[in-house]
Symmetry: C2
Amino acid sequence: MNALVTDLYELTMAYAYWKNGMAGLDAAFSVNFRENPFRGGFTIACGLAPAIEFLESLRFDAEALAYLSSLKGNDGGPLFADGFLAYLGDLTFTCDVDAIPEGTVVFPHEPLLRVTGPILQAQIVESAILNLLNFQSLIATKAARVVLAARGDRVVEFGLRRAHGFDGALSASRAAFIGGCSATSHVLAGQVFDMPVAGTLAHSFIMAFDDERAAFEAYADAMPNNAILLVDTYNTIDGVHRAIEVGRKLRERGHTLAGIRIDSGDLAYLSIEARRLLDVAGFEDTSITASNDLDESLIESLKEQGARVDVWGVGTRLVTAWDQPALGGVYKLNAIRGRGGEWEPRIKLSEQFAKTSNPGLLRARRYAVDGEYIGDAIYDETQPPRNGDVTIIDPIDPIRRKTLPRSAEQEELLIPILRQGRRLQDLPRPAAIRDRVQSQLARFHPSIKRFMNAHRYPAGLEENLHHRKTELIRKIRGDETR
Amino acid sequence: MNALVTDLYELTMAYAYWKNGMAGLDAAFSVNFRENPFRGGFTIACGLAPAIEFLESLRFDAEALAYLSSLKGNDGGPLFADGFLAYLGDLTFTCDVDAIPEGTVVFPHEPLLRVTGPILQAQIVESAILNLLNFQSLIATKAARVVLAARGDRVVEFGLRRAHGFDGALSASRAAFIGGCSATSHVLAGQVFDMPVAGTLAHSFIMAFDDERAAFEAYADAMPNNAILLVDTYNTIDGVHRAIEVGRKLRERGHTLAGIRIDSGDLAYLSIEARRLLDVAGFEDTSITASNDLDESLIESLKEQGARVDVWGVGTRLVTAWDQPALGGVYKLNAIRGRGGEWEPRIKLSEQFAKTSNPGLLRARRYAVDGEYIGDAIYDETQPPRNGDVTIIDPIDPIRRKTLPRSAEQEELLIPILRQGRRLQDLPRPAAIRDRVQSQLARFHPSIKRFMNAHRYPAGLEENLHHRKTELIRKIRGDETR
């Protein structure tokens, strides 16, 4: 993959490390975000497989090097020395990567992915890793919310035309499927990720015929067992009646009208009425698809109004994550290996305390009682939690504490993925990751899954890490006031 | 380009056209949107060149056909007949395309791009065309707004880490540059689109050193004329003082401190104070870059507070179009060629009148007086405006009318791009399109460019088209009530 998928400052910093003889200095970075998106109570980790593929194939090819050598500084001279470009030309990614598996439910401040190794390499991959994890986690989370709202109905992702570029569409389709969608309308995504594809019919097809009946008949003739007829081009209820007529003709020929779709108007009223008309005519198996700027709130409201929808077609508001189109994941330096070989924790202060980073070789452990998850401890692997009760402290609001009992089941959230750049195991396919999302969500209390005032799941700093962080802050602040 | 970048229903409709012997029926489709994004008064057309590249290279290759032949219907049989797949395998794009050039200021309801030709071909390219035009027009518009807010200061796009996938980033960088940004941080975008790249320094670099001074010195040593020092890792004002010390050492060696960057805190106060300190120390030429979740509103507010910023680094909120992450552009069938060869207008009704489409072979003409644009007329090319005063009528609110005087200068907005699939001319490069945006914006009254309560520029249906549309609606409604 093209190593130029990076911000220029990653390369100028790399250049400065190289010039100062620090390229090989061992560093530990990790990715975390500060708030669950959509004012929700959880986030779905997604995007790891593409990130790992990027890292494994990281190369500066001849074309990339030629481009970098063409860049000029303010003095008109080359921005980068030739020796540095030669160094980049020989570079492959040899860091260690540990990460929380895709499809895991995760929370603010947890290290989603950790890179440990030569600082130059670990730095230049920041932009690409953040791009992939931020976007796919955002969309997988949105999809999981929409699927929760649909309470068992199928959700199909229809977003290609409003997604952010071809790849914005492709990766949104992947993440939406992982988050729980049943299928995508995007044919290439179906091919690339081995996911089911689905589709209905557009208004233009209806309009290309002299009338709706002729259009329905032509479409049903072409695919007598697969026709989903769009009934709202002119008048929705009339359209349902016409679809039923076409369905009767199909039935006489031994076929089944697959479904109808409603794309405008009062979806609650129209779906209830359409269901009634279909059932009265004996079309109990004909499905109703609804679409039109749907999201989790609208679906929740329509369900409460008794809408009779079998398939929810969700596009724009899913693939753009309409109400919050970015997850603010960051990639922070957590530790540097000193001359003696020991790891020195590093911290970034901020006037906004929520933006202060957590120091150390970060890991996270999840605790469960009777199968239900009760809390996560973020800790420094050089000082792991002792074999006793563990107290966790909220990183933003230290008054919020919780004790996780020693008797709880424990699982490590980060697993080793790359060692010196080599993959330790195959990564799961989207269908398996999708299953993981559902089995994960089932283990959390419903209160974190509601849309209004979601419960804050306890994910905090293990006590030792909290104290170490507090000391570091005090030390830096003390240095300042001297 | 891969023809599978499409929604499945485009292919099932194509299949039905093919099976019904209608694949070659001539149709006219066009793209339009219904509202300017961001509650603004204008939109920048963008994405045409990638859309045309997609159309020119449209092919169903062997792998695509193999995938399509693997798709099953509800009865377990193949979804598509082999004869249809063979037809797709031979297909190239032979339609005519007319479009408004990239970088043009456009308005709701105007036909941005028109496809005329065999309905099967014109239909299957819908999803890809909408994806490209919707997203790039959205981002170019956002960038134009940010650049207007910056009132002549440079704006650099920093969005890679929060954009929607690698290509979401790449195409956002292109559109942001076209909209008026001076440079991007995304190195690959710089290479691919021949745009300037720019960058500063991250907090991690500062934290990798024992203290801020050591980090500044190492960075400045590596690139003595190009160093932009990030001053807010620990304490911003202290950071400015340290940057000045490093700047003095650079000056002793004949170099210039290029700039500083502030990424947190009160950007108005800190930039004013930093400017004062830099000026007092004789660093009048050292620039100040500001960043931190900026958008046009925040920049406007900071400018009003007297912020002394030379370069605005804008990321997340630009490349995700944070406050409206999709432009709702649609692709509608406007006309079908009848058996006698004449074009028959088609219309889609909707319970939401704003969603009712406009019929005919659509074009648009822009009128200017003394160089300033005063109104646009959308018309049917089979009934062009007469050589007299032209009345335009708002498509949503027919009480809003305006007369464009016969004495006004006139220009056609849509130009021919493809004829039977062949390109008539080279399309401009991003730098030329970027110039067009600025020269276009200069010709509109400031009232359409303000952020609050922007003026609604008159872009309406030419009288004949309005009457034809009204008749068509009456006819369909009449049929319904019979």
